[in-house]
């Protein structure tokens, strides 16, 4: 009897330890669990070129992450890229003429959406759209290089 109790105690302790380890792994090693609950609102933005923007990329305002990208798709009607992202409900006073730009964190870092506040009196809400004059595409390195090369070539011609 004594031995059975010891075995049961050891098993209970082991299972508890294992579950605690699983809990630790799911909560502490990953920080991306926020912005997925219901306390968010969804905004869509249309871009000419999204570069390598990925699902779950951060949406930042003044460098602070306030939301996350939930979908990057191609819109066959407007022939632009449609990026859907959610913003935390507590940031509900963002003007609806806000600029959205796809930026790169660091030299080789991943891409994220940076929002630049506008001056409108009405705010972004669930289902709002940010359309082309207010969005700035990702900078594609090849385009940048070719632009530089061609403009340099043009100067040579002038001389």
């Amino acid at each position: 009897m004594q031995q059975t109790r010891a075995v049961e105690f050891g098993t209970g302790l082991f299972v508890l330890l294992g579950l605690a380890a699983l809990f630790f792994l799911t909560t502490q090693t990953t920080g991306n669990n926020t912005f997925s609950g219901s306390d968010t609102y969804e905004v869509q933005a249309y871009f000419e070129n999204v570069g390598s923007l990925k699902n779950r990329a951060p949406v930042a305002m003044s460098g602070v992450t306030i939301g996350r990208v939930t979908a990057v798709e191609f819109d066959p009607v407007s022939l632009e890229a449609r990026v859907t992202f959610v913003i935390d409900r507590k940031y509900d006073q963002i003007p609806d003429d806000t600029d959205a730009a796809i930026l790169t964190s660091g030299l080789l870092g991943s891409q994220y959406i940076g929002l630049q506040a506008g001056g409108s009196e009405t705010y972004l809400e669930d289902g709002s759209e940010i359309d082309l004059p207010f969005t700035q595409s990702a900078i594609v390195l090849e385009n940048l290089i070719s632009k530089y090369l061609f403009s340099a070539g043009g100067e040579d011609d002038d001389e």
Partner: protein, 254 residues
């Protein structure tokens, strides 16, 4: 020579098919054992899981520590030693945790299962049970199989957590990486999908390692030599199966 090759191939397929049928038989008896004879399963969780804790935790600590060392020495060439937490966490969660735990599990618990069942067979205990109308499959094999299946994911999770602390110990405490950067880089890099991949892997490995251990023990030649050979085969076959499955699951996950 071709005929021999052919017979070897046929024999391999036959064994492989018999293993699948054996697996299905274990599964079909599992629910009723869990409901009615849960105490047997608990005892096997203790045998395979709780008694493997020491080896799992010690190995986890040192595997994590070596990841911290290697990560630090290589990443510091790029002035990126802060990322040592991310490197260690991704390595442990996705690969090293499930795989090394499964290999250790097969060495510590799988061999114990195989030799125990093989010895039961060699000393006619299984036949005696059948004489008393007790199914050895239900009384001996299913609880041992289920115990391993339950214990393995928990062991892998414990291994991973202890490994993270090993990496923390070496990276932060010994080599002076900033603790905040260590954890924030890790939380930035690890996504829930990485954790699920590790859990799926460790569950699959648990099923495979327990199944092969029970199978080898049950099919051991009932002699001293046969039991010894079954024990060896358990480790060899489990290691091969786990590493191949690891490749397949990773290929699917990516």
């Amino acid at each position: 020579m071709f005929r021999e090759l052919y017979y070897t191939f046929v024999e391999f397929l036959r064994t492989f098919g018999a293993l699948q049928l054996f697996f299905l038989r274990l599964l079909s008896h599992s629910p009723s054992i869990i409901v009615r004879r849960f105490r047997l399963v608990v005892y096997q969780v203790y045998n395979t899981g709780a008694l493997s804790l020491v080896i799992i935790m010690v190995c986890g600590l040192f595997v994590g520590g070596v990841l911290g060392l290697q990560g630090y020495s290589n990443l510091s060439k790029f002035n990126a030693e802060d990322a040592v937490g991310a490197v260690a966490a991704l390595g442990l969660l996705k690969e090293l945790g499930p795989v090394i735990t499964a290999l250790l599990f097969s060495g510590r618990a799988g061999t114990a299962l195989a030799s125990e069942i093989g010895l039961m067979k060699a000393t006619d205990q299984l036949s005696a049970m059948e004489m008393m109308a007790i199914s050895p499959l239900r009384r001996v094999l299913v609880p041992r199989f289920l115990g391993g299946v339950i214990a393995m994911p928990l062991l892998a999770a414990i291994f991973t957590v202890v490994g993270l602390y090993g990496a923390h110990l070496v990276g932060v405490t010994l080599l002076g990486v900033d603790a905040g950067a260590f954890w924030s880089q890790m939380q930035d890099a690890v996504e829930p999908a990485d954790i699920y991949e590790g859990i799926i892997k460790s569950t699959v490995f648990g099923v495979v390692a327990s199944l092969l251990a029970v199978w080898e023990g049950y099919n051991a030649i009932p002699t001293a030599e046969g039991v010894g050979r079954a024990t060896t085969r358990t480790v060899v076959i489990t290691a091969i199966a786990i590493l191949i499955l690891d490749f397949i699951i990773t290929a699917i996950a990516i």
